[in-house]
């Protein structure tokens, strides 16, 4: 059951899985609740600038878009598909939530949940270092536009 790090069934694997399901589950529940309203949406009641910010997000329907991103990220992390790109999509939302939680509308709970979101999102991204390394370190030199990928190139029939 408990094997070496990296093996299926190791403590490391299950820890990453647990974080993945928790973060994904939280995103899915939070996103889905916006449309299903099982519990009231969590909204800042003060200060005025936070209430104004949220009102503008809601009135411009950007908040709906944020919730769609959360739902997609949640589904991705739970089903195990497209996880690196989902985690990158979620990162701007995470940073804004954390900024609001820490500096604009801090409460005892938001001081805990804001940084938690950033830590979990960054931790899960760090588990995809193999994917991120070429982007961050730029250690794969060939610059290839997507349209030159063999995946999309026309296959020529042999003469």
């Amino acid at each position: 059951m408990v094997g070496h790090a990296g093996q299926t069934g190791s403590v490391e694997t299950y820890f990453v899985l647990a974080v993945r399901y928790f973060f994904g589950g939280h995103a899915l529940v939070s996103g889905a609740n916006h449309y299903l309203t099982i519990v009231p949406d969590i909204m800042p009641r003060d200060p005025a600038i936070a209430v104004r910010f949220m009102s503008v997000l809601i009135d411009t329907h950007l908040y709906d878009l944020v919730k769609v991103i959360e739902i997609l990220c949640g589904l991705s992390l739970i089903t195990g598909r497209f996880m690196p790109v989902a985690l990158m999509m979620e990162m701007p939302v995470t940073i804004i939530v954390c900024y609001l939680s820490l500096f604009i509308a801090p409460t005892a709970r938001s001081l805990y949940t804001g940084p938690r979101e950033v830590i979990l999102n960054l931790f899960l991204l760090s588990t995809y270092w193999g994917y991120l390394r070429p982007i961050i370190l730029q250690d794969r030199p060939p610059l290839m536009p997507i349209w030159r990928d063999r995946l999309f190139a026309r296959v020529e029939k042999p003469q």
């Binding site: 299926t8 694997t13 299950y14 899985l17 399901y21 609740n33 739970i78 598909r81 805990y112």
Partner: protein
């Protein structure tokens, strides 16, 4: 007070999904699996 900081309905939902997901993985690993983590 500490309960109010740590608990929210979203967290409860996330924990339930986490437990179900982990249980599914443990069961799959023990009883033949589905060919590994699909990432």
């Amino acid at each position: 007070m500490i309960w109010k900081i740590l608990y929210s309905p979203y967290d409860a939902g996330a924990l339930i999904i986490m437990v179900i997901g982990l249980a599914a993985h443990v069961a799959a690993n023990r009883f033949g699996g589905w060919g590994g983590d699909p990432r």
